[in-house]
Symmetry: C2
Subunit: 321 residues, 2 copies
């Protein structure tokens, strides 16, 4: 089953808020329904958001006002706007172009995954132990994955040893989604608190960090799920590579640096409440950044379907691409 | 109300698992009850564990077998063993010595807090914005606090601007306990995800990190609640001081480095379950480190009631004590 797909003139998508307890499928017939699904993270992951943008414009029949509202559903991942704009540019063939975006996502992810696996085997092989964060798997895309796609490619080659995954507060994409995917794939894995990822790295339990991205700025700064940056700091200190796996559609040459990327701030109730119950005093406010910025110089390599970029020109040779 | 105290021949203590919803008091009459309260973190915090160890030996009437079991209740904070040993060394005056430990905790914390406030005002003043982690407040001690004690001393001098506190997964001591204490004290504060602390630092929202410690090794490595180390990495990169506030009883000259400290690994259900419900697949295992090690060279200063230690001899002068 694909994470997001087009069937009989509407969008079908796995409701990611229900996993792993239930594999529920949403049928989305209007842009308003799509925006709601995106805002509540039923559909999430930068590549999947690109496809959602593309299919949403098809759903809207090319209506520009609806397309603009869709683009604004979440601000950080550049893929959403990219998918919308790409289909808007083909008013003569909205559905065909949207289906192209959908199909390309699979081939693009497989290509970048092979590139990432090649790079890791060349640098680290023959056995790779990985720390990852959030979910950059099939559930973040159409059906293969970016960071988890790289791990799947390593697994196919018999080169993947173990994966440590952060739970990824507050919405627990690691505990719920990545752990579910790794279980389905039969990949040995261990869940850790977000705050423990740096210790996993410092203790030598892994020899690489592999994550996805929501936007790569022109200078190579990587914007990804909150909690990515401390892993990059720990990887640099431990002297292990920090690898970003993302499609070219995530690279935003129009945005000079990470500081120029709008960082989504989500509802503070995601932090002040747990399972519907308030856990902090009612007077306590929370600041709920959804993403952080990893400076280019901490990024060892970015693999896309076309390129292997090494932004960390200032890094020691031992960890430089 | 004191966090832990001695009344009519038994221990009374705030049940920290119930805060902030309820201020419940435990009456502890046996060492077994005390061990249970310590294991489930009803009583927690290195200084409070030291007092619990001391009062527990009084409760046990100096019984050495019970004392040994009490020492082993939690392995990482050295204070527990310190408190036990100190009272065991005075078999002629068990209760009097235990009460000395209890009373000293208050004066010791006030002294180290003034020292920490002096240091921060000298280095950063006149307004200090702080990132902290977990709970090193009155609830971790008898009645004043270590890291939060420093912040209270700053507040008394009109020099504390704002405190950012990590929620501190999995047991949420930040969301529940530190937020509650800061609310009681009228200190402006904001809750963030553990994974966001590094971003708070990178964005310049704070000009110091102030935390407590569970054990300081002879070389200055600091063992503290899991998630402390990534804050130290972020502080170093941002060029702001990383300050540890702890009593001398936390300094363990018998342990050469952080690598020699036993790190407690807690039940994986604290990560795989949320509010009693399993959130990750049943096949998924978790690794639940309770503490991490911050290398001495990332520690700008350790303030105790007697000394100001600067372990980071290798640090740039701008952040060196």
């Amino acid at each position: 089953v694909r994470t997001i797909d087009w069937q009989d003139g509407h969008i079908v998508a796995i409701d990611q808020t229900r996993l792993p307890a239930e594999l529920a499928v949403l049928h989305i017939h209007t842009v308003d329904e799509l925006i709601d699904a995106i805002k509540r993270l039923a559909i999430r992951g930068a590549p999947a958001l690109g496809v959602a943008g593309a299919l949403g414009v098809a759903l809207a029949g090319g209506n520009r006002e609806l397309a603009q509202r869709l683009k604004a559903a979440r601000p950080t991942a550049v893929n959403l706007a990219w998918g919308v704009d790409r289909v808007l540019s083909r008013p003569d063939a909205l559905v065909a172009e949207a289906l192209s975006v959908l199909g390309e996502d699979v081939t693009v992810n497989r290509a970048l995954s092979q590139r990432g696996a090649d790079w890791l085997l060349d640098r680290i092989g023959p056995r790779v132990d990985v720390q990852t964060h959030c979910n950059a798997g099939a559930l973040a895309c159409v059906e293969w994955g970016t960071a988890l796609g790289v791990l799947r490619a390593l697994q196919e080659r018999g080169a993947l040893s173990h994966v440590y995954v952060d739970e990824t507060r507050p919405l627990l994409q690691g505990s719920r989604l990545t752990a579910w995917e790794l279980t389905q794939l039969g990949i040995p894995h261990t869940l850790v608190a977000d705050s423990a990822g740096a210790s996993v790295i410092a203790r030598g339990l892994v020899n690489a960090v592999v994550v996805g991205a929501d936007r790569v700025a022109a200078n190579g700064d990587v914007v990804n799920k909150i909690g990515t940056y401390p892993l990059a700091l720990a990887a640099r200190r431990a002297g292990i590579p920090f690898v970003v796996a993302a499609p070219e559609s995530t690279v935003d040459v129009a945005t000079p640096t990470g500081a120029d990327v709008p960082i989504e701030i989500r509802d503070e109730a995601e932090l002040t409440h747990l399972a519907g119950t308030r856990i902090s005093p009612k007077e306590t406010r929370a600041l709920n950044y959804a993403f952080d910025v990893t400076p280019a110089e901490l990024v060892t390599v970015i693999v896309t379907e076309r390129r292997t970029l090494a932004p960390d020109a200032a890094a020691p040779a031992a960890t430089r691409a």
